[in-house]
Symmetry: C2
């Protein structure tokens, strides 16, 4: 990719217009985005000026909010207008919601009356809901028109429609009565009525359905689009598969960030300022540090045990780390199951039984392993000391497995987001409890031996 | 959901056929899957027998490999044949590759000659490649036919086609020459030739293109389907958006599993045996335990320092945990950037600079915090001891941030999968190095104070 950027830099330098246009023509949108991220601001703007309108719109839809603001600010008002008027209304509404305040005003002024109305309609809705993803540019017909009329309508139709592959049937109050795919229409005979061929049992979402739920419904049904209705079952718009893919990617990044102990949205790393990255990272680190220091109290509380049996100290990190790893595994499995809709709170009993079985098995395997390791590899400890370590680890693993599986179910039940507790908060809790279990087990076993 | 399952149990018990059929008619595929997972095997089979053919196929495509095997084994050979013959060929090929050996043979025998040929063709390809996702049921035409002829062809066409919304244009050697959407065809005039209207610059993937790459291409271009070609640019099949969504979900689960220190595929938790869960979890735990015990050597090596300044011991878990959290944040950001194609190895310099700045800022904030915490909250330490802790933490955080960001870039460059090192292996390495930094910093500062 570096080569492509350099090639463009040379073209810019030598002002080789023909080569520029030819190379840009060949660029896929993926290459375009990579190139955009490789360039500095001046180069990006230069590249942008050579793109055709469609490429410009594709690119704008794929860059971050900050980049959108910067780019729009740099364009002439005619350049802005040209792009904005051609954008899909749902993308336009998103853009207007996210750009800087000053950019927003010039954007708004450059729209014509009709686009402004359409956008205003979309701006009423929360951007994380079904309505926030929808476009109002769908095909809607009445049930009594014939297949032939429908085909003619579509063939002469508005080229701004987001998709023509599903035709929605509404009554005179705009209520959704049915749906028929273009495919069904084409297969049907010319004189048949749409109402006879349409699917009456339409799967739709409400305007306030959460975007993840919308994604799930579209996915499960392999739909190209899903209709959005209000509380009177009136058709408001449709959400298309490409927006759903964006939602899945976005949620994916946010989930992965949460597992990595961070909050916030998916931004392009290289284009995110140190300040913004700090804001994303430091709150979690502070929280984890403060809760994590509870381990100092635990160790202080049991210091007499560690003083009496110094070999226990050097195994502290192994014990806490193994507990943390086991707990994270359990919570990851449960959280994923909850997210995919395969698990629910009523499965608590089954989950606990399974995790107890797993905890015992894994505890024994790991316990034997640390016993063997500490008998045969330096730092070598005595046999009874190794047995103490092995038993401690069994209890820590069993405990961590159970907590790691129960906690997400409880948090989910209470209406919280179990992902935020996954890797990070879990490990703090498991550290504290793991050290306690470790100290108490060791003390009990050592006093049994000496007593 | 529990209510729905109970409702069905009652219907089964009372043999209420009409209510059963009515309720099943209303079930969405998502509800059907939830119900399936709520039922035991006998109930599931009973439910299955009442589904219509389409629901049966939808369900089979959504359940796990083990469940597919079990279900097929339980069906009569006529029941099997009916379902298998109606499945999409790509789904059928997947099923044949994954079911038990004994089920595979009966499945194979129940197919007719044509389906067997089609499936055999698909079975030649790796299931993780573009070809493993593709269906051979697309529309292909020659460039010289007219729009009117094309529409007639589609209207009279084969109902088994996966999509008719893209029409591919091939030459007499089956080489891909262009593509035209059904929408473009409908807008065009009857007498125009397909060749004049088609897009000649077709974006396609090779048969061996990795499935993640295929997903990225379809996503970036908002395609409903993307064509798959061989090395002679001959059209082999198409990959549709619904298969791409499945790929994205699958990769998502696998990435999340890897971050949770597990290997393997996405299975339904409640339907996965303890044995299979153990196989997924224990290898990582063993690896992490064995590498993690290196910390015992480090602590053993520096035991004279810890003996001389006992307050250092109780802060061991906080230091390692904070280092681990910081490193995990950095590696999560970099790994996600790599996965989304926003980062590459050549960005190493920029990444390091950014992480150094972040590491210093976060280190100072966290260092001051632990200093204050250990001065004012029990277990209280002296001022100079608190300063030692603060400085140690700064160095540990800075180191962890840099390693957490460089390691994924290096591993990616070397062709490895950076996700597997994310949370787990990273934290072991950072534990070992963090403890070393901690011990050395403390020793240096304490000897400075006493010297």
């Amino acid at each position: 990719m570096g080569n492509l950027a350099d090639k463009f830099r040379e073209y810019f330098l030598q002002n080789s217009l023909k080569e520029l246009h030819d190379t840009i023509q060949e660029l896929s949108i993926s290459e375009l985005i990579l190139l955009w991220h490789d360039f500095n601001e001046g180069e990006s703007l230069q590249l942008f000026s050579y793109l055709d309108l469609e490429q410009k719109i594709d690119l704008i839809n794929q860059i971050s909010e900050e980049e959108q603001s910067d780019l729009l600010k740099a364009l002439s008002s005619e350049g802005q207008r040209q792009i904005l008027m051609q954008m899909d209304p749902d993308d336009l509404a998103d853009l207007i919601q996210t750009v800087n305040h000053d950019v927003r005003e010039t954007v708004w002024n450059s729209l014509d009356e009709e686009t402004r109305k359409e956008t205003q309609f979309l701006l009423r809705f929360d951007s994380d809901d079904a309505a926030g993803l929808m476009t109002p540019r769908y095909v809607a017909l009445r049930s009594n028109i014939t297949v032939e009329q429908a085909i003619r309508f579509i063939r002469e139709g508005n080229k701004d429609l987001e998709t023509i592959y599903y035709v929605y049937v509404v009554d005179n109050l705009q209520r959704l009565m049915g749906v028929i795919s273009l495919r069904e229409i084409l297969i049907a005979k010319d004189q048949e009525r749409i109402g006879e061929r349409m699917e009456k049992n339409v799967i739709s979402v409400r305007e306030d359905t959460d975007q993840e739920e919308v994604a799930k419904i579209l996915e499960d049904n392999d739909f190209i689009a899903v209709p959005v209705v209000d509380s009177f079952h009136r058709l408001l718009g449709i959400v298309t598969f490409d927006d759903v893919i964006d939602v899945i990617r976005e949620e994916q990044t946010e989930d992965i960030y949460k597992m990595g102990a961070m909050e916030g949205s998916a931004d392009v790393y290289l284009h995110t300022s140190v300040w913004k990255l700090l804001k994303k990272r430091i709150p979690w680190l502070i929280l984890l540090l403060l809760t994590g220091t509870i381990t100092t109290n635990v160790l202080d509380l049991f210091s007499h045990i560690f003083d009496a049996a110094a070999f226990l100290i050097i195994f502290i990190p192994v014990i806490t780390q193994t507990g943390g790893n086991t707990g994270t595994q359990s919570s990851t499995l449960i959280i994923r199951g909850l997210a995919m809709g395969e698990l629910q709170f009523s499965d608590l009993g089954k989950v606990i039984l399974k995790e107890i079985a797993l905890g015992i098995l894994m505890g024994i395997i790991l316990g034997v392993l640390i016993l063997a390791r500490s008998l045969f590899l330096p730092p070598v400890v005595g046999l009874y000391e190794a047995v103490v370590l092995g038993f401690s680890l069994i209890f820590v693993v069993l405990f961590s497995t159970i907590i790691g599986s129960i906690a997400p179910l409880l948090i989910h039940k209470a209406g919280g987001d179990p992902t935020v507790i996954a890797a990070p908060l879990m490990s703090t809790f498991i550290d504290v409890m793991g050290l306690t279990i470790y100290a108490v087990t060791a003390q009990t076993m050592l006093s049994m031996a000496s007593g």
